[in-house]
Symmetry: C2
Subunit: 410 residues, 2 copies
């Protein structure tokens, strides 16, 4: 039922909202454009574009300026560009090895960002909230306070979308932690907050600004200590009923395998996670990022043990991906986090397993690529998530327009 349970009647106003949203989204995704480019792309007339852009400019969200000369005859079309003071979100990332925050405006480029490493181990919700508060105090929040419309949080853990609570975060030792309701107050911001899994958000970021630009169906695998996944279907994140979807790390791929931290047996994570990689390479499994870096350096120098371990993990990556390719028939598979850094060593094994195990049809259509955004992918995805309500209905932010029109008419 493509229409919700209670379908809502469409009106003229709906048309305006949709068109305004289309323009703003276009400018957000493809960057500043001239009015005439927007006319060509949206199919709307110059008149309609003019009125809509006029409203965005009057609302101080966008500005028009002389574009660069194009060397074409005809009257030049002004470039429409987002104002930095217009709409801004605060993006936050709680990863296994670092905490990060950024202020991001329309267009998706960070205005300012900070990241600090975080030692591994369990930390209370209070401690993390305090660390984040301090981190965010290093951003020019006050300068943009009036423009901030929301907070987006990328979380290494299982998140409920509706209330932003963390159902489970093994790396931090959290269970049912009410993260979403704590943060706005901690930052002194009274705006909506959106919390989601870091891999889900990395997928959004890679789709819009990274390795999967232009694709509509994407599968991303995100490796840190654990293994997460993000699925994009028809351009929209697959969240599932509560937002839990995408937990690829806990697919059973080897019933005869090892016990997983989740209590299950033979999860994919037990074969391709950081600990499995370090174990295979004969390094301390709890060595963390330092040992992983050392392993990758060894591989770069051609050390056989390191290369064998990476190839072995690559094979298991390929085995799991085969099932996912058959299941989801994606256009692009992006390997992020640990898998992006190790991609060059794993690629042959991954591709060989895919060719061996996946069905011919979906296999031929799927392109494999390492992530392009590195550690920032979840953070940028969190910004996109927080911007989404504005993109869906920019008119809500513009406020009452009827009064202005009435005043002008009087």
């Amino acid at each position: 039922m493509p229409l919700g349970p209670d379908l809502v009647g469409q009106r003229s106003e709906t048309v305006r909202r949709a068109n305004l949203g289309a323009i703003v989204r276009e400018l957000h995704l493809r960057g500043p454009q001239s009015r005439s480019e927007l006319v060509a792309r949206t199919g709307l007339t110059r008149t309609a574009i003019r009125a809509l852009i006029g409203e965005l400019v009057a609302g101080d969200l966008f500005l028009e300026e002389r574009g660069a000369p194009v060397g074409q005859p005809g009257r030049p079309s002004p470039l429409v560009r987002p104002r930095e003071a217009g709409v801004v979100v605060l993006a936050v990332s709680i990863a296994v090895d670092s905490l990060a925050a950024a202020l991001v405006g329309i267009g998706g480029e960070p205005i300012a960002s900070v990241r600090i490493p975080r030692p591994r181990g369990h930390l209370s919700l209070d401690a993390i909230v305090e660390d984040l508060r301090e981190l965010v105090s290093g951003l020019p929040v006050d300068a943009h306070r009036a423009a901030i419309i929301g907070i987006g949080v990328a979380m290494a853990g299982l998140v409920r979308r509706d209330d932003g609570s963390v159902s489970s975060a093994p790396n931090l030792g959290w269970r049912d932690a009410p993260l979403g309701e704590r943060l706005p107050a901690a930052f002194g911001l009274d705006v909506p907050i959106h919390v989601a899994n870091e891999a889900d958000l990395a997928a959004v970021a890679e789709l819009r600004r990274g390795a999967a630009r232009g694709a509509d169906d994407l599968l991303l695998i995100w490796g840190e200590v654990g293994v997460g996944g993000g699925i994009i279907v028809d351009g929209k994140p697959l969240t599932g009923v509560a937002g839990y979807a995408g937990e690829v790390g806990h697919m059973p791929v080897n019933p005869g395998g090892a016990t997983c931290g989740c209590g299950s047996i033979g999860c994919w994570e037990t074969e391709i996670g950081e600990r499995a990689l370090l174990r295979l390479a004969g390094r301390p499994v709890d060595g963390g990022p330092d040992e992983v870096d050392a392993l990758l350096r060894a591989a770069a120098e051609g050390e056989p043990g390191a290369l064998v371990a990476l190839a072995h993990v690559g094979r298991w990556v390929g085995i799991g991906l085969s099932g996912l390719v058959n299941l989801l028939n994606p256009r692009v598979i992006v390997l992020g986090g640990l898998f992006a850094r190790a991609y060059s060593y794993m690629e042959p094994a991954i591709l060989a397993e895919l060719d061996r195990l996946a069905l011919r049809g979906p296999r031929e259509l799927a392109r494999i690529a390492p992530g392009a955004l590195d550690v920032d992918a979840p953070l940028l995805g969190a910004a996109e998530l927080a911007l989404e309500p504005f993109l869906a209905d920019p008119a809500a932010r513009l406020g009452p327009r009827a009064q202005l029109v009435a005043a002008a008419g009087a």
Copy 2:
């Protein structure tokens, strides 16, 4: 990017299309309703509903009649009901053990349907097309010819959505068979044809008219000889890039397992397919539906060997479902085909494995249910697929309206 590569601007006409579509879809999904019920459900005003219904009645697609007395005060609201002569589709199902066809109108109820058993084994495309032609000749196609707007085909095999070709159908021995381009001519119908995998369509049918009514996120597992799957996300079928998505049968779940017909190793199908079940029960693996029926009868009589085999398969069903629950976070999991018939014997094992292996969050949200539509699910889903273009834009079928209005004004 929820908006296509070239976004299309919205106009007043779009509003009308959307509202007309909402009304027609509502009547299709929930059955005949009074005008006032439609007002309440769509949020449109009486005026708008009146105009839109008037158009549908004038176009001979729907009719209004006195509804049953409701015992309430106030002027009674007429019931809006689809006309049988209005819009009809031809649905066809090519299953492993049978061929079926039906004429289906708005509302989803078959006007007429036929099904014949089919012996297993390879058959050429020509032979199947001829069998279908004969089957369809038993339906009152001529009586509804003018109303038939499309053909929907449910196919036991891997299907490309765009051209309706069958990429692979192991049971028939097909590979790259141009099924979609052959059928309309064979039926003497010059209408659009839509071919899709039978499990994908069974999912649609169970969502709209079966065990998953009211849900928006659904996973269906369909067992015949092979194992197929259908995924519904946010009320819409997950097709993937080419329509291949949902092939759950070929997820690798047991790397140490048996070689699958697809050439891969340890596919889920090798653990839970019909052949695996018969083998575990000590019956001939190629016995087909007769042996399966005998097995189920034996189980009903309490034969230990049969019960053990069913429980064993149930465990593997649960193992695979665990991964899918973590991956997709569905609201309902429907077991169809063979699994629906054997559900009562497998249920304990399935639930036990889910509780053991799936993550707590998504596990708690997923309801498991056997399919409610039996063998007809793919056929009914094929009808829904063929009806979809009409539901999305009924105005296209109504033809030019402006002329009528102009004539009335003159």
